[in-house]
């Protein structure tokens, strides 16, 4: 048995720009234990919720995360809509689905780029982000913002995507589809990529179930958990089957996210094909919410919880958000055990950490 020592990882680390600190207890080159600590960027969004009225909170909820901002806004709005007991117009639900899937594509491309950067394939990193730029342009074209959409409101959406813009989405997605096929073959077949990803950081299905991990991270270990199956927004009208792999290693996580890109493209095409021609995009909301609701949405990183409690006043009693990274950190620490210290950066990346939204 070698001598044990502690190596600090983060909060400043080149592999990830966000501040998470992990104390790595190492024995020679092997990690024996990982002790995480967060709290470097706490923003107090939940206490801010006690100062703003429920309509303004849509914009606060959106700013929980810069990457999955749309789904945060949508999750909050759907929670309040359930309290009101109102049904959003069908076209608005389809628009929400299209925007949600677009932001999933952009988030997964961002992650694939970071992963390529993590194992030192700079060229692939740039390719991923070049493709991502086209999706960001689509965001700006349809919603007006590149990352923060601000199109949700309690009761529906405030903007429509016209016919020409839907056609622009379809033609851009065709281009993106072709370009993705090129980089997919590199991620799936390249020898150097495989040597860094195959068989690294294996978590079994039982471990994932015990530690309560969510999202693509859990699906890579064979857990069939995807909140889109609950059928919020318009997912109940689309043919959606979650993608699951049984390997549980880094390669499987990369595989899941890559295949979800193609799935998202398919879902958007299907949604655009089925979108109803309606003028109405929102229903009027009268009065203040009274009641409580749990909303669960599937973000690119996994499942997010919204707990909203209101008592007939414009200001909510409580808004609680649990983001996917928060649920994934215990599994991450389990995964880090018995791995090489050189792989730690890559392994932390594979849960797609978003520390700022974890700390809200």
């Amino acid at each position: 048995m070698g001598k044990r020592s502690v190596i600090p990882f983060g909060p400043q680390h080149p592999v990830l720009p966000e501040p998470v600190h992990i104390d790595l207890v190492v024995e020679d080159e092997k990690v024996v234990e990982a002790i995480p600590s967060i709290g470097f960027v706490h923003r107090g969004l939940e206490s801010l919720a006690a100062k703003k009225d429920f309509n303004q909170l849509v914009y606060v909820a959106e700013r929980t995360c810069g990457i999955c901002s749309f789904q945060h806004g949508m999750g909050y709005c759907e929670a309040v809509e359930h309290i009101f007991g109102i049904e959003v117009p069908r076209r608005a639900r389809f628009l929400r689905t299209i925007w949600a899937e677009l932001s999933r594509i952009h988030s997964h491309l961002l992650w694939l780029g970071l992963l390529a950067d993590g194992f030192g394939f700079e060229n692939l990193f740039y390719q991923c982000w070049r493709i991502r730029e086209k999706i960001l342009d689509l965001h700006e074209l349809t919603a007006g913002g590149r990352l923060i959409f601000s199109v949700n409101k309690v009761g529906g959406v405030i903007k429509d995507i016209e016919k020409e813009k839907l056609d622009a989405i379809l033609s851009t997605l065709d281009e993106v589809d072709d370009e993705l096929r090129v980089i997919r073959s590199v991620f799936f077949e390249d020898r150097t990529v495989l040597s860094r990803l195959k068989g690294v950081g294996i978590l079994t299905r039982e471990q994932i179930n015990d530690l309560g991990a969510v999202g693509p991270f859990a699906r890579a270990s064979g857990v069939r958990v995807d909140m889109r199956m609950l059928g919020y927004a318009a997912y109940d009208e689309l043919s959606f089957i979650p993608i699951v792999s049984n390997d549980g290693d880094c390669y499987a996580r990369c595989f899941i996210r890559m295949m979800e890109l193609f799935q998202s493209i398919k879902l958007i095409r299907e949604a655009i094909g089925k979108i109803p021609e309606e003028k109405e995009l929102e229903v009027p909301v009268k009065g203040n919410p009274d009641g409580e609701y749990f909303m669960r949405v599937e973000q690119p990183r996994g499942e997010a919880f919204y707990y909203v409690k209101a008592s007939g006043k414009p200001i909510l009693d409580r808004m609680r958000i649990r983001t996917p990274t928060f649920a994934n950190i215990p599994a991450l620490c389990e995964m880090l055990k018995d791995t090489e210290i050189a792989d730690v950066g890559l392994l932390v990346l594979t849960i797609d950490p978003c520390i700022s939204c974890t700390e809200r």
Partner: protein, 146 residues
């Protein structure tokens, strides 16, 4: 073998145009409806203060007497909620993002003197009418008493 598949892409990369633009030397093209910054057509503003109450970040302020509308560009999060709430539709989201700056400063818009004078006139007129109505009421009450 994957590298062989990637080779055409790598060759293409060598000869294609840069994917990025030389911002700010090159003017970026924004699509219609881009939420860049807020603009006000100040002469249509009725200083009702709906935008001030709506703003989630408290970036706006309105002075009814001076006829001014002030925005702290650094506090503004460009969410567009004030635009949605404005009853006179005199707020717009314009294309083009704000330029960064070393210090926080506010932009103040003042109504033109003609509009201010017209408003003043209107206010005086309303006050005069109110006084007349009051006098008429008092007169009627007196007559009733008699």
């Amino acid at each position: 073998m994957a590298l062989m598949k990637y080779a055409p892409q790598a060759l293409k990369n060598l000869f294609m145009k840069p994917a990025t633009k030389m911002y700010p030397a090159e003017e970026p093209v924004y699509p219609e409806g881009s939420r860049g910054h807020i603009k006000i057509s100040i002469d249509d503003c009725i200083s009702c203060g709906m935008c001030v109450r709506a703003c989630p970040n408290g970036a706006l302020s309105v002075d009814r007497n001076a006829g001014t509308w002030t925005i702290d560009r650094f506090d503004c999060i460009a969410c567009g909620y004030c635009v949605l709430k404005c009853p006179k539709k005199c707020l717009f989201m314009e294309k083009g993002y704000q330029t960064p700056g070393p210090e926080k400063k506010e932009d103040t818009y003042t109504k033109s003197p003609e509009v201010l004078a017209a408003e003043e006139e209107k206010r005086k007129e309303a006050a005069r009418k109110a006084a007349e109505a009051k006098a008429a009421l008092a007169k009627a009450a007196e007559e009733k008493k008699e």
